[in-house]
Symmetry: C2
Subunit: 314 residues, 2 copies
């Protein structure tokens, strides 16, 4: 089975490394020259739970790979705003038989994928693995995680293929879970991302400090309420109190509270554009379509974009 | 005519200095010990349009002044959140004959003043003078300005008294204007304060940079829209496009665009609590009462409070 991973950032490198270590046939496609050079020269060199791990793996530029390359499984792990361009640049590797797995943070990717692929090909999910990048070819991979996924296609073949992907992930220690309520889980994660990411980025604080600032709770509760309202309007049943409690787990200093969310790292640390349009912006967009008011998510989206512009993010 | 100024910060010091220089009988009451000490020792020493100016002036602690002190005119220039306590602490200086002039930034002060004084006593307005404080007893007073004001009382006596105050301010070079549409002008200023103050504080930028960041315009337009909606619901006729254009004047780098609003100075520079509850918070409060949605003003209020808590503001 030929696996192609589109995007070799932190998460793409994690999946690439773990699948390759499990003996799978993996090729990476990436858009960052220095990353490609480093991986070609040294392989992926990961800080893997504190140990140095090295794995050789094929990698090509997204616009310069073997024209005969075909994927049985395409895993997309680009930056949100690069997904559509990346799919267009790599259409030749997708056949009718290819499955496309998307585990990216946020919502609205199914709409993009459906423009290019049949529902029967698409497998959607999310992942509780984390990953960072210390430099080109150098992911930092700590902790444990798992992958929830579900086929969008209704056929038995689509379900069977998704379960094959679960088995594949399990072989690589990536802990796949076939999950009927995938949209519930995606929205559950959006509740966390729609609050912690934008607020910690705007206020330049970690999650525990945000939680300690009592005035933040009004913001968090309203943001979560809008996500839940949008989900419910989409037919995904969510409970507000349960989601607020779930988000509150981020404040725990003993576990993850000291963490600065990835959006903070993108914008504040690295002056890079954020994925806000695929988190709060996507909630606001869906809200507009479904006639659900989402002013808090809209406000936070515009505020983060303003900060991107003030900081000259690229 | 005995003039008492409650609050000897930048603006109270400006009015005190200019009235005293014009030969008026002025007493200051203040709550900041070091400020009182400095003014007792050296008078007010102002950087006045680049020149050093010194004026001796009586000043007492807000809770320790001559019990026989009575004011013909009480001018209130406290921090917004200190106004009610300050009025309570100084009730003995107000008689039935005393007029109370409030020119403070924001809205909702009339509701506070009406708890303690008769409408016939209250004169409400705003001022386009600016003032800063470089240290105890050291205001920095640049540029030109004027004062708009109107009596809340309906009687001819109330109008006559307000016009006397206009004349008094004119004698001191403070440029008084008797202004029928005072609530329009107050809301017009709130449009500026409700956008520039909170956003420049949260984003830590000056007004010109805020204006250059195109994504801020959605935020600004929505915030102004809510202010205009609230004003209109209160019977104060405001035009949205006109107000958005008015706010846009703040972006001009040739004039005031390089300025960091007072809220920025309070919170970011001095780690002091802000007046957000009397600007965006008051808009949201009035919106609630009048059934006008004000989520953007509510969001910004909570966000600034969160930042106050994160920075340990006092």
């Amino acid at each position: 089975m030929k696996i192609v991973i589109l995007g070799a950032g932190g998460m793409g490198s994690r999946f690439g490394l773990m699948l390759k270590k499990a003996g799978k046939d993996v090729t990476l496609l990436d858009g960052w020259d220095k990353n490609i050079e480093a991986i070609r020269e040294h392989g992926i060199r990961a800080n893997y739970n504190g140990e140095e791990v090295q794995v050789d793996i094929d990698i090509y530029p997204i616009d310069d790979f073997d024209p005969d390359l075909k994927a049985d499984l395409l895993i997309v792990f680009t930056k949100a705003m690069q997904l559509e361009d990346a799919i267009q640049a790599t259409r030749s590797i997708v056949t009718d038989q290819t499955k496309v797995l998307c585990l990216m943070n946020g919502i609205g990717y199914d709409d993009i994928l459906r423009k290019y692929f049949d529902d029967e090909q698409i497998v959607l999910g999310n992942t509780m693995w984390t990953a960072g990048l210390e430099g080109p070819g150098r992911p930092k991979l700590f902790g444990n995680g798992y992958v929830n996924l579900l086929n969008l296609g209704k056929s038995e073949e689509a379900a069977a293929a998704a379960k094959d992907i679960v088995a594949l992930l399990d072989e690589a220690g990536l802990n796949g879970v076939y999950e009927k309520e995938i949209f519930y889980l995606i929205y559950k994660k959006v509740c966390v991302n729609a609050t912690m990411n934008g607020l910690c980025t705007i206020l330049e604080c970690n999650m525990a400090d945000l939680g300690d600032a009592q005035a933040s709770h009004d913001l968090i509760n309203q943001l979560v309420k809008e996500v839940v309202d949008v989900a419910n309007a989409e037919g995904v049943e969510m409970d507000l109190d349960e989601m607020i409690e779930h988000v509150g787990e981020c404040f725990n200093r003993e576990t993850i509270g000291g963490h600065f969310p990835s959006m903070y790292q993108d914008l504040i640390t690295n002056k890079r554009l954020t994925e806000i349009d695929y988190i709060n912006g996507a909630v606001a967009q869906k809200g507009k379509k479904l006639n659900v008011p989402t002013p808090y998510n809209q406000f936070l989206t515009s505020l983060v974009h303003t900060k991107e512009q003030l900081l000259g993010a690229k």
